[in-house]
Amino acid sequence: MSELTAEVAGTTPVAPVANAPNRRRFRDSDLLWSFRRSPVAVVAATIAFLIIGSALLAPLLAPHDPFDLASLSLMDATDPPAWLDGGNWTYPLGTDNQGRDVLSAILYGARLSLLVGVSAVILALVLGIALGLAAGWYGGIIETLIMRVADVQLSFPAILIALLIDGVARSALPRDVQGEIAIYVLIAAIALSNWVHYARTVRGSTLVERNKEYIQAARVIGVRPMRIVLGHLLPNVLGPVLVIATINLALAILTEATLSFLGVGLPPTEPSLGTLIRVGNDYLMSGDWWISIFPGAVLALLILSVNLLGDWLRDALNPKLR
């Protein structure tokens, strides 16, 4: 049936110039086409775009600057959202326990959370895939070494790793620089505690793919191993990794909040989305639900859309799933 795929694929218009039977398809046009056709992807994309966009434009969109402490008025603390009694439109979604406008705090906080979450996931992905491929491809001592490092790594929850890195960083660096490194410590800590999932998954898939024909064929015709691994092997092991990556984004953002609790994360006066939720939790019982629920909802929507987009992208990109 391989001929079938060729036939159907052949239907995609090839650039008029290249009339030769050139199998190079216009991926983007294909992508765009399947994107428009799936409503879920469109809705997810708009939500994600809205949240990420408004987070990046926080300084322009936010009615207040939650990080400018002088502007906070404690007397307005825990005001309910505007449409409820006791609320007013200067604070559309109400205020938190410090008098910070929840809407503005969400925008600024989302920016921080995205910065930390996304970079941590990317770092973890790169690290995990590299080590996973190395382990799966070379096997033997290298595989054992990497897998045992992974075991060691797994037994340390992110919290402890953060404490270690933070401690080392704080003692190694002069005091004034320490403020800036908080973000990098966070990203490193979260990434270091997550790369193992990717590494093991990639290794598992590499073991399976490694002895498949198309890899052996590439080997036979003398393609350089690195080229094989990255060019041929990687795309085929990306499936499950993408699944884990999109889900771990949520985990990364929430881990940042737990680390902030330990005094390792971002300063409490500049709360991230995760910290807003954590602090808000103390008010869930007291009826000031909006302090935690709105940021939680935004985070949930963000993760939802990112994951749905991830699903669609993985299906669209995977030629076998055409």
Partner: protein, 539 residues
């Protein structure tokens, strides 16, 4: 005193002690159907049933339902007769105690002076953490079976104030179970007394799952039953560390009482049918401290000098922080603004001094300008985020207020183990910090000696800012030995006034003890957060 008849009856039964205990339990179990079980929860747990394991409020409070000190505290937090019926100072440095007769330990062993001598000896040896309560005690002498003399190193007018911390244990029981020493972690020895108990108190230990659940049963032979009948039969204590879960457990009817209650949840509990909120000012005072010892602050933009050494800067800080909105909004009204480092209920508290300087942003800015910091400066503020009520939130509020006078305070909020490691001895590694203090002896001297006296390793241990004022040091020594209470209180007031005028600290507020119960429950709530089960009534 107890009637003679009651004594003979006890004497016969003492032989089958273990049999007796199980018999009592069997009786109770069969009667459980309509027996009153009081179920309650706290965020902490008594880390050990050994009353000397740690000098920490909850452990002392919980264990003293099973064990009793010679001198206990009344509902008004004043010393009252416990296992000692009366005491007097036979010589300036000797206190004589008359012991209560006819008292039995839970296993039936009679209580005598030997137990007191043994207990005070055990309390000052390694493994015990309550030795500071007996810091001034030189020797404990048994005069006869029911009289004991305590000799102090120099006159100690407030020894009875310190004794409620040290409960009395049974010498025989400890020797039988080789628990003559509290568990000494450095030696790695475990002690039988950690998980088992044999006190003289109103309740007996029935089942102990550390950090999970502990069940106490009423002691049917408690010496105090006649004067103070105990309404409840057994007590089930659960540890629930998470505030939201703890409040839910109360609202769902699984518990009859909980504390601590987060201030922000009190409205919801109060408005729920069948629930009641109890509150009273706590002896704990929360304040901000400033490093006045170093020539250059560890964590500040100011180089070459220490701004906090300038009184005007300290005053500016004092007047820039408006305690009223903090008390009203952050603490939801559960805080009593204060200008001193001790609050009402503490012995020697001078109420007239307790007026804060007015909140004055412009005045503060002017002071800063006069001191040479027209556009303020940067300083690192250290705070705990899980030690005092809404501690991180109070810090954030203060940082926001300081920002209005140009002070850029970088807040570092950490969990308590890391926090205290940073700001406490030996390093005192902080420039600007939050601290809370409850005087163990309920006497102002304890606060002054710990917080304001010049640091010398023994005193001023928690003077993390390194405040040093010879006048205060002299006053502290005088108060230590002053026998005349009137004169002593005057000296305390004088010391506190110096601290206030010198702005040694930035006092914020006394916390308010908040408990929550079902409305059919009546409890005795005191400012020291000491919860005595014997006062609990359940309709």
């Amino acid at each position: 005193m107890l009637s003679a008849a009651w004594d003979e009856d006890m004497a016969e039964r003492s032989k089958g002690a273990i049999l007796f205990a199980s018999l009592a339990l069997a009786v109770l179990l069969s009667v459980t159907a309509n027996a009153k079980t009081f179920r309650w929860a706290n965020d902490g747990d008594s880390n050990s049933m050994d009353p000397y394991a740690r000098q920490e409020t909850f452990l002392l409070s919980f264990d003293q339902n099973v064990y009793e000190p010679l001198v206990r505290r009344s509902r008004a937090m004043k010393p009252e007769p416990g296992l000692a019926t009366e005491w007097s100072r036979s010589e300036p440095a000797v206190w004589r105690f008359k012991l209560r007769q006819g008292v039995k330990f839970h296993d039936g062993t009679p209580f005598t002076a030997d137990d007191v001598v043994f207990s005070y000896d055990r309390a000052v040896h390694p493994g015990s953490n309550v030795q500071t309560a007996l810091a001034t005690v030189k020797e404990v002498r048994k005069i006869d079976d029911y009289t004991v003399d305590i000799v102090t190193d120099g006159p100690d007018p407030i020894l009875p104030f310190a004794l409620p911390t040290v409960a009395i244990m049974s010498k025989k029981w400890c020797e039988e179970h080789n628990a003559t020493r509290a568990a000494d972690i450095t030696k790695g020895e475990e002690s039988y007394a950690t998980r088992n108990a044999n006190g003289t108190g109103p309740f007996m230990l029935k089942d102990r799952q550390p950090d999970v659940k502990t069940v106490l049963v009423k002691n049917p032979n408690w010496w105090g039953l006649k004067d103070e009948p105990i309404d409840i039969d057994d007590v089930v204590f659960n540890r629930i560390e998470n505030a939201a879960t703890r409040v839910s457990a109360l609202l769902s009817g699984e518990l009859d009482m909980i504390y601590t209650v987060p201030p922000q949840d009190t409205d919801r509990i109060a408005n729920t049918a069948g629930m009641k909120i109890w509150k009273t000012p706590e002896l704990r005072t929360i304040f901000l401290g400033m490093d006045q010892s170093r020539d250059e602050l560890l964590d500040s933009s100011v180089k070459g000098k220490n701004p906090f050494k300038d009184k005007r800067v300290r005053q500016a800080f004092n007047q820039a922080i408006d305690e009223d909105p903090i008390a009203a909004k952050v603490m939801r009204g559960f805080a009593h603004p204060t200008a001193l480092i001790v609050g009402p209920g503490v012995n020697g508290y001078p109420a007239d001094l307790d007026k804060r300087l007015p909140y004055d942003v412009n005045g503060a800015k002017k002071l800063l300008a006069d001191a040479g910091y027209p556009d303020g400066f940067e300083v690192g503020l250290d705070c705990p985020n899980d030690r005092y009520v809404n501690d991180e939130a109070v810090c954030q509020a203060s940082v926001a207020m300081l920002a209005r006078i140009g002070i850029k305070a970088k807040l570092l909020a950490q969990t308590r183990a890391k926090y205290f490691a940073k700001i406490n001895a030996p390093g005192y590694n902080t420039s600007f910090y939050m601290l809370g203090w409850t005087p163990d002896t309920y006497d102002a001297l304890n606060a002054i000696k710990a917080l304001a006296v010049t640091r010398d390793g023994k005193n001023g241990v928690f003077n993390n800012g390194g405040y040093s004022n010879p006048q205060v040091d002299d006053l502290s020594k005088a108060i230590q030995v002053e026998l005349d209470t009137g004169k002593r209180n005057e000296q305390i007031a004088q010391a506190l006034k110096i601290l206030k005028d010198d702005f040694a600290y930035i006092p914020l507020h006394q916390q308010v003890v908040v408990w929550a119960t079902r409305d059919n429950v009546d409890v005795a709530q005191t400012g020291d957060n000491f919860f005595q089960l014997r006062f609990v009534k359940m309709k």
